[in-house]
Amino acid sequence: MVELDHSFQTGKPTDYNWDAILDLERVIPCVEGGKVLERTSPEQAKAEIKVKMGAMSMTFKGTVDVAERDDAAHTAVLRIKSRDTGGSGYANADVTFALNDGGGTIHTAAQISGKAASMGEGVVSTVLDALIKDFTQKLAAI
């Protein structure tokens, strides 16, 4: 299990950020290489993320759910369950958002297996950290 904490600032009101993180059509493409394949319900989508590493790439397909939400406290958990389409690995994560005025915090608890995990937990943690920082920058732009 890799656990990471980040904070972000969008400069926008909490209600705006709250709508943005719960709108899977908007929030999933904020992950580099991520796209919605099918919106199966207001709080669930089938999605994929393609991670490119030079000539090599890995594609994870699965679901993103709004697993928990507290509209009053502006906290929500997005649950990601995905499998590596080119192997037997998986990448699952609970991403917990806690919003405050103009931004918020993100706690990520990820479990990754297969080819990606074979590079070692330190590598997974470093790449995931960079991915989330990139995500927060894109989130600030929507």
């Binding site: 580099e32 590493m53 030079g54 090599m56 074979s118 590079m119 590598v123 991915l131």
Partner: protein, 171 residues
């Protein structure tokens, strides 16, 4: 003047790694398979076809590079870095010395010209030389992946190793 090409030897490029997860990447040995060089006591020139680049091998990384990966890397370099741009060197000063030549000149790399200097060694009809190209000096951003955690090192080594033809072309 002596003309050289792939039939006389090899023009190779060696790249290293940088970034927070450099250990999972590969140092690459590349070969340019279409190139032409001319040598004289007072002038040296070389042009290379970026589309002819191929990956010979790689070291390091978690797993060895397979043939598909080598082809993919070469394609990525051609498509995302070199983009069919120019690779052309022209000397501005050649200084003969014992055992070889000291060469200074200008390298046009993807349309940007910058100075470069290197030595060429000559030994019994065998020519070798090595030059260091710092990509940023040619305004090239070294290739990076995975949000910048894995990068090609800014410094790239280029080497030539050729056997001089027995009959030179004076034209």
């Amino acid at each position: 003047m002596i003309r050289l090409g792939p039939e006389h030897g090899r023009l190779t490029v060696h790249t290293g790694r940088a970034g927070a997860i450099a250990k999972v990447g590969h140092d690459l040995d590349l070969e340019v398979t279409r190139w032409e060089a001319t040598f004289a006591d007072d002038a040296v020139a070389l042009t290379a076809d970026p589309a002819s680049l191929r990956v010979e091998g790689g070291s390091g990384g978690v797993t060895p590079l397979g043939d598909d990966e080598k082809r993919g890397i070469a394609q990525t370099i051609r498509d995302e870095v070199l983009k069919d741009g120019t690779i052309a060197f022209t000397s501005t000063r050649v200084t003969p010395r014992d055992g070889g030549l000291d060469v200074e000149g200008e390298l046009d790399l993807l349309g940007v010209r910058a100075p470069i200097a290197f030595g060429l060694e000559l030994d019994a009809g065998h020519l070798t030389g090595r030059a260091t190209v710092k990509q940023s000096a040619w305004r090239i951003t070294p290739y990076s992946a995975l949000f910048g955690t894995l990068k090609v090192a800014d410094q790239v080594d280029v080497a030539i190793d050729a056997t001089l033809p027995k009959e030179s072309d004076d034209g």
